[in-house]
């Protein structure tokens, strides 16, 4: 390839970094060409974020050689990295919400005369226009913008400060689909201007579309460097997990039982057409749809976290059940803000919704039997933790999610409403969550699984419905849907968009 002949913009060799006893990076190589979009993939904990922090100047490596434009690259901090032309667009966006767009774009590069600020509105506006976001008002307060627009402001800031290399850490993880398209357009413009982009993502389809080359990290080492974008996803996954990928969807046989929950004329947000469906024991009903299509509203209203506009639900008679625990369980899509109390213990999080079970005489909790129940459920979910009393925030994302799921098991819930249950979870933990949910369904639970990742929905669910602007398509067996039909429903609300 011609690109190989040019001097790389950035070259890393044998980079190492340890945090205490944990070796985050043991031998990372990376080479970025000018004007290239380079995807960095790997499971959670593979060292992607550490590598980004080193490139962005937030961390300094323990060993290894780093060259930027042929010269040794050892920034003392993010500021110096920025001055050299390397900017990071963070997962948690680093903007000042109280300042306006222009102030944020110019932040750190303000110009002044006699100590008074000189406005740079024209340049800020030009940068935004160039990114295709000329409609964004430089006077708008950043706090009032959506996630996608804030991201653009960060990218604009990087451009404004003459970045040669922009590092994007999971830029699409919280974006709705059409904003993802806009972001891809922005990336294409950056590339045309000769700016290189390092792109971290969990979504291999996205990577295949946007990246020129792909580097795979595994356990802090470069498992495959500079793969062409045409590499089959299966091979990339194999490099990520270090073994050929077995069947990640479980083949647990499930029998559909009697109807557990009937929903009639349900309107979860104003103006939407009413939805009717049934959930049977043993069923996993998938709910596809774009972000903002009303999947979350439906689940949240069914659970009672928000008021439904109209409609009724009916639960089948409980059978063989004592106690008054809630029969419906809900898993939030936002683990950090809502799903878990991160500084509380694994134990407290797991039993929070079902404490009544552990109340003994005199109204005191039986901590021993609580701990035993938590240990048992964590063992069956293969949660990796040290101690039930350790804060749940100290676990990895996948293990945190399993703790959130354990709440449904411990609460003995019969209907599981799962909102994006595998978001932010690595491949290994995903497979375990699939197994666990399939097992729960086989044990007679009814599951409503809301997700945005189609291969996953097709793999785990036995029937599927698609949401569009708050309305729900008819429920059909997954065999009755093709991916393009699902996309058609999701984008137009009709089976056939033509």
């Amino acid at each position: 390839m011609a690109r190989e002949l040019t001097v790389p913009l950035l070259r890393l060799r044998g980079v190492r970094k340890a945090f205490g006893a944990a070796q985050a990076l043991r031998n990372a190589d990376l080479e970025i060409a000018p004007g290239e979009v380079h995807a960095l993939v790997g499971e959670n904990g593979a060292g992607k974020s550490t590598l980004i922090s080193i490139l962005g100047g937030a961390l300094s490596p323990d060993a290894g050689s780093l060259e930027f434009l042929g010269a040794p690259y050892r920034p003392a901090g993010p500021r110096e990295a920025r001055n050299l032309g390397v900017a990071v667009v963070h997962q948690e966006l680093a903007l000042a919400p109280h300042l306006d767009v222009e102030a944020n774009i110019c932040l750190g590069r303000e110009r002044s005369r006699l100590g008074f600020l000189i406005g740079q509105e024209r340049r800020a506006r030009e940068t935004l226009e160039w990114l295709g976001y000329g409609h964004l008002d430089p006077r708008a307060r950043v706090g009032g913008l959506g996630v996608a627009e804030r991201q653009i402001v960060e990218i604009a800031r990087a451009l404004f400060q003459d970045a040669r290399l922009i590092l994007m850490d999971e830029p699409t993880s919280s974006l709705p689909a059409h904003d993802v398209e806009n972001l891809f357009a922005v990336i294409a413009r950056l590339k045309a201007r000769g700016v290189s982009v390092v792109y971290i993502s969990h979504f291999l389809e996205e990577v295949a579309r946007v990246a020129d080359r792909i580097t795979v990290l595994r356990d802090g080492e470069t498992a495959a460097a500079g793969l062409p974008a045409s590499t089959p996803a299966r091979d990339i996954l194999a490099a990520m997990v270090g073994r050929p990928l077995g069947e990640i969807f479980p083949s647990i046989h499930r029998n559909l039982g009697d109807t557990l929950l009937s929903v009639r004329g349900w309107v979860s947000r104003p103006g939407a057409a009413p939805a009717d469906f049934h959930l049977k024991r043993g069923q996993i009903l998938g709910l596809a749809g774009l972000v903002g299509s009303g999947r979350s509203s439906l689940l949240r209203s069914l659970y009672g976290l928000r008021q439904a506009e109209a409609g009724e639900t009916e639960m089948a008679e409980a059978r063989g059940r004592e106690g008054s625990g809630k029969r419906i369980g809900f898993l939030s899509e936002d683990r950090k803000e809502e799903g878990l109390a991160l500084n509380l213990s694994v134990r407290a999080n797991a039993t929070l919704a079902g404490l009544a079970r552990f109340v003994g005489p005199a109204g005191l909790l039986r901590l021993g039997s609580e701990a035993r129940a938590v240990r048992d459920v964590c063992a069956s979910l293969r949660v990796r933790y040290l101690d039930p009393d350790q804060p749940v925030g100290s676990l990895s994302g996948g293990n945190q999610q399993k703790v959130a799921l354990s709440r449904l098991l411990l609460g003995d819930c019969e209907v599981w409403l799962l909102d994006e249950p595998t978001r932010g979870v690595d491949v290994g933990a995903k497979a375990e969550i699939y197994r666990l949910v399939a097992q729960a369904a086989a044990d007679g639970k009814a599951v409503l699984w809301s997700g945005s990742h189609l291969p996953e929905l097709f793999g785990i669910c036995d029937s599927l419905a698609v949401m569009h602007r708050g309305a729900m398509s008819p429920v059909r067996p997954v065999q009755g849907w093709s991916e393009s039909e699902v996309m058609a429903w999701a984008t137009s609300g009709k089976a056939d968009p033509a």
């Binding site: 936002d334 799903g339 109390a341 991160l342 500084n343 919704a353 005191l364 901590l367 709440r407």
Partner: protein
């Protein structure tokens, strides 16, 4: 680091005690002065027990000092209801009444912050003034004398009967601290207090009635401020609408020194108790060692900041 944080209040108390024992006169570590110190920690300690609930749940209550004053005045007024011939039940009823006044005040705080969603700092900044004003109105802007009853003996360093050995108020505080520790660790309510402070959205998700719990927490905090008012009354033997001015800050400091986090989700009864005792040791020790008042202020301030510094270190990991 977490372990160290949990031990810090005990180490701080031991260090302060040893320091004054070395610096100060021999009377400092005499049995009588130790009993005095314990007695001096009672009012702040009882208030701190209520504040422990509030702070763990992610709230704050600046009105407790005013509530204590209001409770002393209410108690004195009630004791005067039958003139000088005080029937046996009246001190009990008046004490319960003072606690109820505190609980009502706390409930107001809870209602305003939970139902009307005003920040608790603002709500209690306001009610701090309102309750103080209420106390002055109820007392006609002067101290309220009351007939002598057994209530006056609650804070005697040499108690009657002598076999109690410590002032009854000290026993009240110790029993209360044990009860709060049990409630926080072994009851559903206690678990909910931690959950609310750690992540309110999670608590709501798990079906906890968030608003009602918050109101209950402030009501409990207020009731314990009322109890602290009863003990303050015993100390003064009269109702004083200007009592306990600024004491809310000592109470909050005791909880924070004891491991409570103003971000919520953290705090312990034993820690708050030790925090209250540390404050009493500092004030008493400075007095005994003849350290001037301005130095006391500086030392207490430094200790509070040091405790918060430890808190940050512990959270950085």
């Amino acid at each position: 680091m977490k372990k160290l944080r949990a031990l810090a209040p005990y180490l701080g108390l031991a260090a302060a005690f040893l320091l004054f024992a070395a610096l100060g006169p021999a009377e400092f570590h005499g049995a009588y002065n130790l009993k005095t110190i314990l007695t001096q920690s009672v009012i702040v300690g009882v208030g701190a027990m209520g504040m422990t609930f509030v702070i763990i749940s992610g709230g704050i209550d600046l009105s407790v000092g005013s509530l204590i004053a209001l409770a002393t005045v209410a108690l004195a007024r009630m004791l005067n209801l039958r003139g000088d011939a005080v029937p046996a039940w009246l001190p009990w009823a008046a004490g319960a009444g003072a606690i109820a006044v505190g609980a009502m005040g706390g409930l107001c705080n809870g209602f305003l912050s939970a139902r009307l969603r005003i920040a608790p700092f603002i709500v209690t900044l306001g009610t701090m003034q309102i309750f103080r004003g209420g106390a002055k109105w109820l007392a006609r802007e002067q101290t309220v004398t009351a007939p002598a009853t057994w209530l006056n003996g609650l804070m005697e360093v040499d108690p009657v009967p002598a076999w109690l050995w410590l002032a009854p108020g000290v026993w009240v505080l110790l029993g209360l601290a044990a009860a709060v520790a049990v409630i926080l660790r072994y009851t559903v309510f206690g678990r909910h207090v931690y959950a609310l402070g750690s992540n309110e959205a999670t608590a709501r998700l798990c079906g906890i009635p968030v608003e009602r719990r918050r109101m209950l927490i402030y009501a409990v905090g207020g009731a314990l401020a009322g109890l602290a008012g009863v003990l303050q009354f015993a100390n003064l033997t009269l109702g004083d609408p200007t009592a306990a001015e600024g004491m809310e800050l000592d109470i909050i400091a005791a909880v924070v020194i004891g491991g409570g986090s103003l971000r919520g989700g953290e705090g312990r009864a034993a820690g708050s108790l030790i925090g209250a005792m540390l404050m009493a040791v500092l004030r008493n020790g400075c007095n005994m060692a003849g350290i001037p008042n301005y130095m006391q202020n500086i030392v207490v301030g430094a200790i509070i900041i040091g405790a918060m510094g430890l808190d940050r270190l512990g959270n950085k990991r």
